[in-house]
């Protein structure tokens, strides 16, 4: 992911004609970048700053412009009663918020963990040479191509308590003794969400890992075979270390994606507090409960969490990549 490997443009050599040309190119590059930068500023930069600003105001849905600055009150405020007891309020002491944080982290950790394992297995299968490999690759692209909302609805039907085929299968196989309300019951709702997410995004993981696997030279394995190294040991000693950069990138992409999950949960398990994530809760406050400022505070905290994780990963990733090259 470093940009240092980029093809350098026309190399600068002696002569004023060349440097004149370079100047002209850099000038042209500036103008080429301006429209994109303005567009990103208008759709990303400015709205982000406004969202953060709203989190420090008392804005409501119908009174965005009359919003007044109230400091950190949405995050934390306290009143001291006459009895001397202090009552804390605000986002940082809101149990619904911390429940959503826990749900999001739990969801991200479990689903990305499972996707990594399954994605690795699928990638190893696709990396082997066998008849019908093209067919398998086409098949695993189907979950990836299906819109998230459609897969939420499809699985919602399959996981239906009365008429769902999953309950029917499990009853026939004797895995369960009675029908389970997968998406409605608080105990199983998170499982249902994770199952659908793993089904939907394992192909992405598998394709990224496969691209990494295909860059490993085959003769390494031939040499290991000659030395009598078992396949199991070859995987842990050769494949995994060499595919690690690609795997790390895929995992980072997926974790950042899982941390902001909204659509699958909104459709598959609506109004279930056992699956409500940070994004779902923030949108609910912003637009359904008319707590615009409070919702802005929640989305700002989510942004800070994800930004912090990104910085941490770039830092950790750099350490890892350098260690791998030595």
């Amino acid at each position: 992911m470093t940009t240092d490997t980029m093809t350098p443009a026309i190399p600068v050599t002696r002569g004023s004609a060349r440097s004149e040309l370079m100047k002209q190119r850099v000038l042209a590059a500036r103008w080429f970048l301006v429209p994109m930068l303005i567009a990103l500023g208008v759709v990303a930069g400015w709205p982000l700053l406004r969202s953060i600003w709203f989190s420090f105001t008392d804005a409501s849905l119908n009174n965005l412009y009359g919003a007044e600055f109230i400091g950190i009150g949405n995050y934390l405020r306290w009143t001291t009663l006459e009895s001397g007891r202090t009552i804390y309020r605000g986002l940082l002491v809101d149990s619904a918020w911390w429940n959503a944080v826990w749900n999001t982290v739990r969801f991200a950790a479990i689903s990305v963990g499972l996707e990594t394992v399954f994605g690795m297995i699928v990638a190893l299968v696709l990396n082997a040479e066998f008849r019908g490999r093209g067919f398998v690759r086409a098949a695993i692209l189907i979950p990836w191509a299906i819109p998230t909302i459609v897969s939420a609805r499809m699985w919602g039907w399959m996981l239906n308590d009365q008429f769902g085929i999953i309950n029917d299968m499990m009853l026939r196989l004797g895995l369960i003794s009675q029908k389970i309300a997968w998406t409605a019951s608080a105990d199983t709702a998170m499982t249902a969400v994770i199952v659908v997410d793993v089904w939907k995004t394992t192909p992405f993981m598998a394709l990224l890992v496969l691209a990494g696997l295909q860059m490993i030279p085959r003769d390494i394995y031939e040499a290991a075979d000659i030395d009598g190294v078992s396949k199991w040991k070859q995987f842990w000693r050769i494949t995994l270390p060499l595919v690690r950069p690609a795997l790390m990138v895929a995992i980072i992409f997926r974790i950042l994606d899982a941390m902001r999950i909204f659509d699958l949960i909104y459709v598959l398990t609506p109004n279930s507090s056992s699956t409500k994530t940070m994004s779902v809760l923030a949108r609910e406050n912003l637009f359904d409960f008319d707590n615009f400022a409070y919702g802005s505070a929640q989305s700002t905290l989510l942004f800070l969490i994800i930004a912090g994780m990104t910085v941490l990963y770039i830092w950790l990733g750099r350490v890892n990549f350098e260690g791998g090259e030595r």
């Binding site: 990303a44 191509a145 998230t148 909302i149 239906n160 909204f262 994004s279 949108r283 802005s296």
Partner: protein, 280 residues
């Protein structure tokens, strides 16, 4: 000798069993959606693993009642315009980012990558204000405007990785002939870039076609919704009566074109998906 033969045979069977599981798990939910979409009446609530009856009733219901055809048109319009806009802005920008060396280029690329990782909810409140101020709330333009936040960084990033792999000799020859950067982009690079543009455009199209959060927030009437929102909000006469047959028919209608496109362009899509991550 026979023992090792039996072992290799077992391994082979195990491998193909694994392949079969992967295929069934990947394909079955979509197969079951198609199966359900052709059931009607009480058949819908009889669980079958194979087609037993056949009826177009769900499809005719979805396409004639309600606003689903209109939602389809909205989705096509929004996704197409979003992609064209993003590609237009991204081509020149990625030329600058991939072929010209200037200070702050790495930082700029990192920023663009960071924007594409953005949690969309973080800008939702601010975007809502901008969209209301522009007077485009509850119109397709609100979606085209807001979708730029994820299509533009993505197209810039992927086109930059494609463009920096183009041989430098072509560009040098053009410069010797006195071509300006604009001429180099439009006359020299564009003809070479078509495959990359198609791939990137297709991936961005899928992203815009599937988007839900902005579409749910920035439109408020049946006539302006896109298909993901329409499918998510499709409900029956009462709260407890979910029209599963219609939902499955609508789902199949919006998914079949995507699956066909993805299967046709599968090699290109795989290379496009991995371009940003692994090669960079």
């Amino acid at each position: 000798m026979t023992a090792s033969l039996a072992w290799s045979y077992t391994k082979k069977v195990g491998f193909y069993l694994l392949v079969a599981v992967i295929i069934v798990v990947s394909v079955f939910p979509f197969y079951y959606a198609i199966l359900t979409s052709f059931k009607s009446g009480t058949d819908l609530f009889r669980i079958t693993y194979w087609p037993t009856s056949f009826s177009w009733a769900n499809y005719t219901a979805v396409m004639t009642q309600g606003s689903f055809p209109r939602n389809l048109l909205n989705s096509v319009f929004v996704a197409t315009v979003t992609v064209l806009l993003a590609l237009f802005l991204a081509i020149t920008a990625s030329f600058a980012l991939s072929r010209v060396r200037f200070r702050g280029r790495s930082l700029l690329l990192m920023t663009i990558l960071a924007v594409s990782m953005f949690p969309q909810i973080a800008v939702l409140a601010g975007l809502f204000e901008v969209i209301r101020a522009l007077g485009i709330y509850n119109t397709p333009w609100a979606l085209i405007f807001s979708y730029t936040i994820f299509t533009l960084p993505f197209t810039v990033w992927v086109l930059t990785t494609f463009m920096r792999d183009l041989p430098i000799e072509i560009e040098e020859a053009a410069i010797v002939d006195g071509a300006t950067p604009w001429v180099i982009i439009t006359r020299v690079f564009m003809p070479l870039m078509w495959p990359a543009l198609v791939t990137t455009g297709l991936l961005a199209f899928i992203g815009a076609w599937n988007e839900f959060l902005f579409a749910l927030t920035f439109t408020s009437s049946n006539q302006t919704r896109t298909v993901p929102v329409a499918i998510a909000l499709l409900s029956g006469g009462t709260q407890y009566e979910i029209p599963w047959g219609n939902i499955m028919a609508a789902s199949v209608i919006v998914t079949v074109p995507l699956v066909v496109l993805v299967l046709i362009f599968q090699r290109k899509i795989v290379s496009g998906l991995t371009a940003g991550g692994v090669k960079g």
